[in-house]
């Protein structure tokens, strides 16, 4: 076969035009345009933690493990409770044995027995995924297996996650881990299967003290939303620019 340069160029230009022209009939939407074309969601899930109400019973951790099938005795968990004890010498003792699953039943924090007379203040802080508006985990996922829903929750596609661990590294809150059975990234999703069906997340449902509550920020009549918008609430580690959506009442400066 012979092919002169002229013929080659002619065929190339012709072929390119023939394939490009029909394509020009389509419009490529930018992400914002595509979003605008689809009706905006009426829901933006958020969470309110009242640290002044938490007693550290660990029932939320138990409920979460059972509801979301996270192996009960594995040292990983979607939600956990931290105990903070600030003593008179200015030291902050922090612990969360088994994520606080079994409650805090001793005065000992990592082999140090705390004398109750020496305590300035002590409190519990429940932690869970912050369902950030600008989630670092979604940004770094190389395959798009973790993504944000229209109502603000970040989910993981277990059938598509390659288990590289980049999202685990990227999360400033340490909420992600590898699921011991599924071998993919896992984290709290506000019990998405429950909240999408009119139920409360398992941890909220079982908290007898009202320390954990879920809110729809786009519903002004939602009582929890009202608390978030009218009370003085704080978020964790806002310096990372992730725009977290778990709000805290009574958050202490010692909380990490």
């Amino acid at each position: 076969m012979t092919c002169s340069r002229r013929a080659f160029l002619k065929d190339t230009v012709g072929g390119t035009l023939a394939s490009v022209l029909p394509l020009s009939a389509f419009t490529i939407l930018s992400q914002d345009e595509a979003k605008a074309a689809i009706a905006e969601s009426k829901v933006r899930w958020a969470f309110l933690v009242d640290t002044t109400k938490c007693v550290g019973c660990g029932l939320c951790v138990k409920a979460c493990k059972n509801e979301n099938e996270i192996p009960y005795d594995a040292p990983v968990t979607r939600t956990w409770v931290e105990r903070y004890v600030v003593t008179k010498d200015g030291t902050t003792h922090i612990d969360s044995p088994m994520g606080g699953r079994d409650g805090f039943i001793t005065d000992t924090i990592r082999d140090v027995e705390i004398d109750s007379d020496e305590i300035d203040k002590a409190f519990f802080v429940p932690k869970l995924c912050n369902q950030c508006d600008n989630p670092a985990c979604v940004q770094v996922c190389p395959v798009g297996a973790t993504y944000q829903t229209d109502d603000g929750v970040v989910l993981v596609d277990r059938d598509w996650c390659i288990g590289c661990g980049y999202c685990i590294m990227a999360c400033p809150y340490g909420v992600r881990f590898f699921h011991p059975d599924h071998k993919v990234a896992d984290k709290c999703n506000f019990c998405y299967h429950r909240i999408s069906n009119g139920m409360q997340p398992a941890c909220v449902e079982c908290c007898s003290f009202g320390a954990r509550r879920i809110a729809n920020l786009k519903d002004p009549d939602d009582p929890v939303t009202k608390t978030i918008t009218t009370e003085r609430v704080a978020v964790l580690k806002d310096e990372y620019g992730t725009k977290p959506h778990v709000f805290y009442l009574g958050l202490d400066a010692n909380v990490r």
Binding site: D73, P75, V140, Y173, G174
Partner: protein, 417 residues
């Protein structure tokens, strides 16, 4: 814990003080190997380009060798990544559904592009040799000759024109590819630095200097490995020649070798100075600005990891070889010791970045220690243990041995480029 409920990282992570429950050393030895091997690839290529592009004639021999060696190193750069994936069967997904906001997503594309450049450059450099082999083996009989000839026939891809004008075109193409290859090689590795440098949650990693530091130390390690392998092979050849009675030729090999090593050493030292300067700048800057994370970073760098960072990496891996190489009256043996130390130093730098970055908790209130699994008792402890790392380290030499059978990068009589 039951066998089927293995939590990734528990095996080798020891926690101290307050660490979030889900925190473990998730990125272990294989992620140390990944930038190390990628760096060697990039460095080897840059060394070969010094001859092809900048016409450093005295580097000709080592340049040819480095080019082929960088091809042998290339597949090994991707293997650590594959070994650390929790779902290795899904390794092709970043190519199928790349999510481009992720620094990892482009790996496949950058890696493939680079592989194509290296492969085609080697093809242009060695095409004439392939054609010669096809003609030469035609006259010989025997199954192995027939098979070898078939391999060479495939390697020529049907291009048998070895006229002067055709060879000239080959040379030009190889030079262009070498030139294009330099930025791509730097990108391949700088991009490995970006993967770490862009993790804002990690106080140690997050730094815009990270990609540049990675490139500089990559070139250092690549040149060092090429020089070292080159010296070993040349010494071996000279030794064999000597035993065969060819004393004159052995001396000739040694003479040529010395000149090449002198030249390559100068480049090595230049890049070494650049790498150390940048690393120190990063360290000083962190200490001077003393952000929130500095307290814990300081306690890790000057306390827990002091030996790893200041003794093993900076002193033994940088300062000592620098002195060894710069002092007058350098012998070949001293060069070899210095090169080994340089390679060790760069490895420690990767270790201190990857493992050191996970040595402290995101809570800034606790520490994690990595206890590398020595004797494997499961697939995971093999992959992410000493033996997994040693396997990865040995592979490039195996690949080089195979490739060199068909692409003789060390033959002095091979008339190429």
């Amino acid at each position: 814990m039951t066998e089927d409920m293995v939590v990734h990282g528990v095996e080798w992570t020891v926690k101290e003080l307050f660490v979030y429950p889900n925190e473990f050393i998730y990125w272990s030895i294989q992620i140390v190997m990944y930038p190390y091997m990628t760096g060697l690839v990039a460095g080897a290529f840059v060394l070969s380009s010094l001859y092809h592009v900048f016409g450093q004639k005295d580097l000709k021999e080592i340049a040819q060798f480095s080019l082929v060696f960088s091809l042998a190193l290339l597949p090994v750069a991707a293997i650590p990544l594959l070994l650390h994936l929790q779902q290795p069967l899904r390794a092709m997904e970043p190519l199928l559904t790349p999510h481009f906001t992720s620094a990892i997503a482009a790996f496949g594309i950058v890696f493939t592009a680079y592989a194509l450049i290296v492969l085609s450059e080697i093809w242009f450099v060695y095409r004439k040799y392939f054609v010669e082999q096809v003609h030469e083996l035609k006259t010989k009989s025997g199954l192995s000759n027939t098979l070898t000839r078939t391999v060479y026939r495939v390697l020529t891809i049907g291009a048998y024109d070895v006229s002067d004008s055709a060879i000239k075109v080959d040379k030009k193409a190889a030079t262009i590819l070498a030139a294009v290859g330099i930025p791509v090689a730097c990108f391949l590795h700088g991009y490995a630095g970006f993967i770490f440098g862009s993790v804002k949650a990690n106080a140690l990693w997050m730094s815009p200097l990270m990609p540049v530091i990675f490139i500089m130390s990559a070139v250092v390690s690549g040149i060092a490995l090429c020089m070292l392998t080159y010296i070993v092979i040349m010494e071996w050849q000279a030794f064999r020649q000597k035993r065969g009675g060819g004393v004159a030729e052995a001396g000739e090999i040694k003479g040529a070798e010395k000149e090449i090593i002198n030249k390559a050493t100068r480049y090595l030292l230049g890049f070494l100075v650049a790498a150390i300067s940048l690393e120190l700048l990063d360290l000083i800057f962190r200490g001077y600005t003393a952000m929130k994370s500095w307290d814990i970073l300081r306690s890790v760098m000057y306390g827990k990891d002091f030996v790893n960072i200041f003794v093993l990496q900076y002193t033994l891996g940088n300062l000592v070889p620098f002195v060894l190489l710069i002092l007058p009256g350098r012998t070949l043996r001293r060069t070899v010791v210095a090169l080994l130390l340089v390679l060790f130093g760069v490895f420690m730098m990767r270790w201190n970045v990857v493992i050191g970055g996970q040595a402290f908790s995101l809570s800034f209130s606790g520490y994690m220690h990595y206890e590398i699994p020595l004797i494997p008792h499961s697939v995971e402890t093999f992959k992410e243990g000493v033996f997994g790392a040693l396997t990865v380290m040995a592979l490039p030499f195996v690949f080089f041995w195979i490739i060199n059978k068909f692409v003789p990068s060390l033959r002095r009589d091979a008339e190429s480029t």
